[in-house]
Symmetry: C2
Subunit: 542 residues, 2 copies
């Protein structure tokens, strides 16, 4: 027997409808790509999104068509998403920091019909446009005055383009499971993989994300998403902020410490979200300039693990609560958030920061488990680590034009991370599963070893990889770069490590190199590193 409640599909444009009705005058402030600070509101954003939808429809864009965006966080970029999804099309966010070859691959794989592009990236696209046959038109996110001369096909300034529409449009009525967004993951190996969000998944994810123990977004929040819209829906803020009627402060292209600080203060921002690199820049700036925060209360940090010293600096010196979060493109992206539950609220000092460096616990709508290689569930004891697997309505089941389901028999997606979960439900990432060292049936975290090695006064950078071993399958090799004018003594370094780890975790050897290879996003490139050591034999492998 079915219930008798309304058939009211969870569609993305309903978010901006709600924002326009209930929070119509709430501001969206942008540091524009052209330079000046611009101000708009949700009612205006909705009326312009209607024009985008109308314009797309007139140009023959139909339900399911892909529209790429290469753009910073701005009000125009935001409204374009509501317009695109309202026309039934799919916003496909392209990370402009990718190599041009990757962008060509991704746009062709997605078969994007149009590209919305910020001024910044026009030259980048001009250089590759000849190899993007599916693209019929380029919309430059600017006005007539700033429109550059360009070779891009059928190029038009966004403001001119939407000026031709009157906004007399009704959002398409769609199945809530319809595709709405597309974002490719850029792994270190293999081709990028497309994650195809639905209207339903984005709406549900935003409802979960705005909860108090997640991003805690309300009508009274002023939020500055530094995390880009092209980075997995800016961690849902593109949806959860309008849903709650929060003020949005969009940083545009300027993410340096001074520019971010200026916006935080001028726009009375209460919450901001981004990756550790950005916070390191901000921290450096405020320390140097001896500034303080007058309105900022919460800082969400994710994308990669937040250093403990950074968390402590913001909390102790500046009174800003730091919330560590974890997720991935495949999860829309939020997975866990490290809010403080009552069961651990008594923690003080070091113990509190032992907790805060963990990635946190799942909100409702996300399930997680850790398993061994055979899929057997492992205990939540804070020590045992295993493959981290997740399930939920905003988690992928398959990749776009991929090879079918990527789920296990219980419907869980393998994150590729290795993690512990403690008895209170707090998860901590220990390693990537392809990087963990499998020694005699037990797992050793390469990341833990690297972090400890970096604490040695002579070490500038450290990387740990597994090397084949006849008895133990794999054993850890520690690769280090020396600090300028320092010399690493292998025995001393191993002694330093052995006082801090279990004996069987101790690397079998230390190799000193002049440089460790990195990926485009600055992470250690372990694939390359393993290639460099492909012929290396451990001294213990006899």
């Amino acid at each position: 027997m079915l219930g008798l409640m309304q058939d009211w599909p969870l569609l993305i444009p309903k978010i901006i409808d709600h924002a326009a009705k209930q929070h119509g005058t709430r501001e969206v402030v942008t540091r524009s790509v052209e330079g000046p600070i611009t101000r708009t509101d949700y009612a205006t954003i909705r009326s312009r999104a209607l024009k985008v939808a109308q314009r797309l429809t007139r140009e023959g864009i139909r339900a399911g068509d892909r529209i790429a965006t290469l753009a910073w966080n701005t009000a125009r970029h935001l409204e374009s998403w509501y317009g695109i999804t309202g026309a039934g099309a799919i916003y496909h966010t392209v990370n402009p920091r990718l190599f041009p070859e990757q962008i060509v691959w991704i746009v062709n794989h997605a078969e994007d019909r149009m590209v919305l592009v910020d001024l910044t990236f026009v030259p980048l696209l001009e250089a590759i446009a000849a190899r993007l046959p599916s693209v019929e038109r380029y919309i430059v996110l600017t006005d007539t005055a700033h429109m550059p001369k360009t070779t891009l096909k059928n190029a038009v300034a966004y403001e001119d383009w939407i000026a031709e529409a009157d906004g007399d449009f009704r959002w398409l009525e769609l199945d809530e499971r319809s595709a709405a967004g597309l974002c490719y993951t850029s792994g270190t190996t293999g081709d990028p993989k497309g994650v195809l969000y639905s209207h339903r998944s984005n709406v549900l994810h935003a409802l979960a994300a705005s909860q108090i123990d997640c991003l805690a977004i309300s009508a009274n929040t002023s939020i500055l998403p530094i995390v880009p819209l092209f980075h997995a829906n800016s961690w849902s803020i593109a949806f959860s902020a309008p849903m709650a009627g929060a003020k949005m402060v969009m940083p545009g292209p300027k993410l340096d410490g001074a520019s971010v600080y200026e916006l935080l203060e001028a726009e009375q921002v209460t919450c901001t979200a981004g990756v550790p690199t950005v916070w390191a820049m901000l921290l450096q700036y405020i320390e140097k300039e001896q500034k303080t925060f007058s309105t900022l209360k919460r800082l969400i940090v994710g994308g990669s693990a937040a250093p403990r010293a950074m968390i402590e600096a913001f909390e102790k010196r500046y009174g800003v609560e730091v919330i560590h979060a974890w997720g991935m493109t495949e999860m829309s992206p939020l997975g866990t958030v490290c809010s403080v539950k009552p069961v651990v609220s008594g923690l003080k000092g070091e113990a509190l920061y032992d907790l805060k460096v963990k990635q946190g616990f799942t909100p409702f709508l996300i399930e997680m488990k850790i398993t061994d290689d055979d899929g057997k569930e492992l205990p939540w004891d804070g020590k045992t680590f295993g493959r981290l697997k997740v399930a939920g309505p905003a988690v992928v089941k398959a990749y776009y034009r991929g090879e079918g389901s990527v789920l296990d028999e219980e419907g869980f997606f393998d994150t590729g991370d290795v993690a512990t979960i403690d008895s209170h439900g707090y998860m901590a990432i220990t390693d990537r599963s392809k990087d963990v060292i499998k020694s005699g049936g037990e797992w050793i975290s390469s990341i833990d070893l690297e972090n400890i090695a970096c604490g040695h006064p002579d070490v500038a950078e450290a990387a740990v990889i597994g090397i084949r071993h006849p008895k133990w399958d794999e054993r850890p090799l520690l690769v280090v770069v020396q600090k300028p004018e320092r010399t690493v003594d292998k025995a001393d370094l191993l002694a330093f490590l052995s006082s801090r780890i279990a004996k069987w975790w101790l690397p079998d050897d230390v190799q000193i190199v002049s440089e460790i290879p990195h990926t485009a996003t600055g992470k250690i490139n372990k694939v390359r590193l393993r290639e460099q050591f492909v012929d290396y034999r451990l001294p213990t492998a006899v």
Copy 2:
């Protein structure tokens, strides 16, 4: 094109699964029907709910079957809902305060197969059980020691009943639109109407309800729902509290000021929710006993309009923020919540309380509009009033075994209320649409007139009804009860009114009566009142 996110249905038992995993030791405290305070937690509640589901299934209960509950707010009542819905059945909450005849009608209409009943209501059921042929078994929510001798068919003590199950059960896999809950509205006219909630509607409603600008429920909340589980899902708290991992404090049968106050303090309650009558009792108690609140921060008031003096008393004298809310059984039930948006955050003193007596604004997932009798939308200007209509995934589209859709062409449900909505989106109920007086095409609020008349020093109670008028269709008649030892002078009372309202709102006559009829729930019974004045003719009707 459909998205590629997981098919993860929104099912109620997933809420208690999440609570047990992530907030397993979080307490649920009950003032039991037997007397003592009892303590349990979400992990235990889930394991017991599994036993309930297993037991129901063994006794032949199948998906879609209805199980009635006549019970106070207790942990047992709560866990039974998760067990019932986990077995695919439907919890049917019966309001034990209804007349026995109404209970007979409702249980027969629902064709309940079992009844879970608190000790308090065993005698009530014994008196009517012979007329409840669909009921196969009665489960008394108690243990062996407290089990009474009873004539109820196949009666068993709940603790004995679930002790026979080992909890080795998997929740039924259901379509998320499956029926999960049933609650009848008890109108003043006609038969009760059954609202059939689905798993989806209850889960979505809980996600909306827990948002900061609604109930604001987090893992750190300790919430005392005085609003009964049989009163439209206790305003979602039965779902939103476990979803967030909030501590629940269940008041059982004792709702007097002293008992409620004792629990608020002993259990460090931060938020509580209930109808104005309960808060009046609490206020009276703390004023008399000169108490204060040491942990209570927020008090949610709904069910009927909260008197301004009550709101001011809690906020000004006791530092407890009062949040006015409005909803109805047909809305799961939350419709609007009167949180303070930034656009009105500058309001102070009288102007702030002018806002706080309004019913508030809609969260995402609820749409509202006001229309005239022809369905034409009316402006949000805070003055124009019209029929209040709502839409959303947790709003009814039809009644159980009713006559099909109750929605207008745009999919909106007519609440039966008349309201204004101001330019900031705040809704204020002006009247019931059947009570509003339609004079010459314009509407006059009976409630506004009653409230003003009650401010006159000689008036104990006032009611306004519309009387047929040859020229204006209807004109208002004011019916009053005098205060003891006071005499109402008609001319003086009308003069009092005329200085406070538009001229054309002035009642055409005043009638003094010794008593005004009331409904079972204490509201003015205007149906009866109109019957009493059926032969009355207005002096102006010439």
